[in-house]
């Protein structure tokens, strides 16, 4: 199991301000359904949604012991979440590099990276938990390259934690009836007016060099259901930053070849009835006379499984072949943990095209700690063909 890359100072007490600051950080990144039981377990009053809960935390009185224990558990959850929560994960297979290059990367990662990068970490603008959350404070990092906040080696893994500010946009319907007469007149021909709101978010992107498995993982933060600014792809920025560091210290970029195609894991996951519940599926169905492209998502409740869905099972009996190219799998969990969700989001092109249009990103949702993350990563990796060590 992955170790927590950083530890807290357990001896010191914590204040309301510290707890509120961690809650504000969690509000920018953790789903409410995930955060709610964690906050409730601390003894802090949980209200309806983030706004009311934060407002209460800013006003309510608790003993020092409660503030301190709340800070301890919330900051642990927040720190974990920056490493494993809501991530687009890509894997680079170091076995695809030549032996010398692979050995150099691994030796640097395990033996020298932490000391080489110490001066950079020392100049970091803030620690992970002190990351800015307000728009005015985030603005200054909007166009700058990712900042290295932490570099730690644990066991046979190197963890590098980068920070950057990203912009996400949300579409919201605007109520014409609440506009002034002049404004309403402007939109009188429209039945619905949609506004696009941009939100700046503190993001943490993790690079993990795994010496046991000859892998480099890129775990890039994402906000579920929101559109990211496509002009500054986080994956490329973090990869460039990591390559810049390895070029400086070992004279070569560590990442370039070896980006793993995750598509070969999709069909085995679909066929393995013991592999969670299939709650999203994209597939091509082919019969003698026709072929169709289908995409479905389990409706209303996540407790169903496409493998047992009557429409899917019935349809499958009438075609000769089903080729899945996208799969979403849910593993139910008991509170205080929430469901884990993994999605390999391919396009129909992945079936017909070569490596260049492969599935290179897995969506991990709901991980709260290293055990959750390792479970999900294993579900993908053990179904992928790789060269022997």
């Amino acid at each position: 199991m992955s170790a927590l890359p950083s530890k807290l100072d357990e001896a010191s007490g914590a204040t309301r301000e510290q707890v509120v600051a961690v809650l504000e950080l969690l509000e920018t990144r953790m789903l409410w359904s995930t955060a709610r039981p964690i906050i409730a377990a601390t003894g802090i009053h949980v209200s309806r949604g983030w706004r009311e809960t934060l407002a209460h935390a800013r006003e309510d009185s608790y003993s020092d012991a409660i503030w301190t224990s709340a800070y301890k558990s919330l900051s642990t959850a927040a720190r974990w979440h920056t490493y494993v929560g809501n991530k687009h994960v890509s894997f680079f297979d170091l076995r695809e590099q030549n032996e010398d290059a692979r050995a150099q990367v691994l030796a640097w990662a395990l033996e020298r990276a932490v000391s080489d990068l110490r001066p950079v970490v020392r100049r970091r603008p803030f620690d992970i938990l002190d990351a800015p959350t307000r728009k005015a404070d985030l603005e200054q990092f909007k166009n700058s390259p990712p900042k290295l906040l932490a570099a730690e080696a644990q066991g046979d893994k190197l963890y590098l934690q980068f920070f950057s500010t990203r912009a996400y946009s949300m579409r919201e319907p605007l109520d014409i009836t609440k506009m002034s007469t002049a404004q309403a007149k402007l939109f009188e021909e429209y039945e619905e007016v949609i506004g696009v709101k941009t939100r700046l978010v503190p993001c943490f992107d993790t690079v993990v060099v795994d010496a046991t498995n000859d892998l480099v993982e890129l775990r890039v933060d994402f906000q579920p259901g929101m559109m990211e600014d496509k002009n500054t792809p986080a994956f490329v920025r973090v990869m460039n930053e990591f390559n810049r560091a390895t070029t400086k210290f070992i004279g070569q970029g560590a990442l370039g070849v070896g980006l793993m195609n995750l598509h070969p894991a999709i069909n085995p996951m679909y066929l393995d009835a013991a592999c969670g519940r299939v709650t999203a599926l994209g597939f091509v169905a082919t019969s003698k006379n026709s072929s169709s492209n289908n995409h479905g998502q389990i409706h209303r409740t996540k407790t169903q499984d496409f493998r047992k869905d009557s429409f899917h099972v019935g349809g499958k009996q009438h075609v000769d072949k089903v080729d899945p190219y996208t799969i979403g799998i849910t593993w139910p969990a008991k509170p205080p943990k929430g469901d884990l969700y993994l999605e390999l989001k391919g396009s129909v092109r992945a079936i017909y095209s070569g490596k260049l249009r492969a599935v290179t990103t897995a969506e991990f949702l709901g991980c709260l700690d290293g055990a959750d993350y390792d479970f999900m990563a294993d579900q993908v990796l053990r179904r992928l063909p790789r060269r022997k060590k």
């Binding site: 789903l31 409410w32 359904s33 949604g49 919201e172 579920p224 259901g225 209303r300």
Partner: protein, 127 residues
């Protein structure tokens, strides 16, 4: 059930008929769909007045009859999922709904409504 409906809506024959048509159509079925949309039930009611049918469906969903269960759905990450009972209760009182995943208020227009077979209906279907 039919007698209760007739008694309750004796003074409103159109609502009574809508309720009876929906009840008779649904209770005659051997098996049920996972859920029914408003338009499905509008057809079964044999009425064109959407407000009147809405009133009839609310009545059939009340805790005394439980023929239907109102199901409100929210959108998340490309899918539609059922709102938890706590948020449905707020909605029923005319209060704002909090998105279960984002923890932010949800605009009413973003909430989808459907009806699932209630205990009263399922009990009827059991031989």
């Amino acid at each position: 059930m039919a007698g209760t409906i007739q008694d309750d809506w004796a003074h409103e024959p159109r609502v009574r008929d809508a309720c009876l048509h929906v009840w008779q159509a649904l209770s005659a079925r051997e098996s049920h769909l996972d859920h029914y949309s408003f338009d499905d039930l509008l057809q079964l009611s044999e009425q064109a007045d959407r407000a009147l049918v809405s009133q009839a469906l609310l009545y059939l969903s009340n805790p005394r009859l439980k023929v239907l269960r109102t199901c409100l759905m929210y959108e998340f990450n490309g899918g539609y999922f059922e709102l938890p009972a706590e948020e449905v209760a707020h909605y029923a009182r005319g209060e704002g709904v909090i998105h279960p995943e984002y923890g932010e208020p949800v605009d009413e227009s973003a909430i989808l409504v459907c009806f699932t077979p209630g205990v009263g209906l399922l009990r009827k279907a059991t031989p």
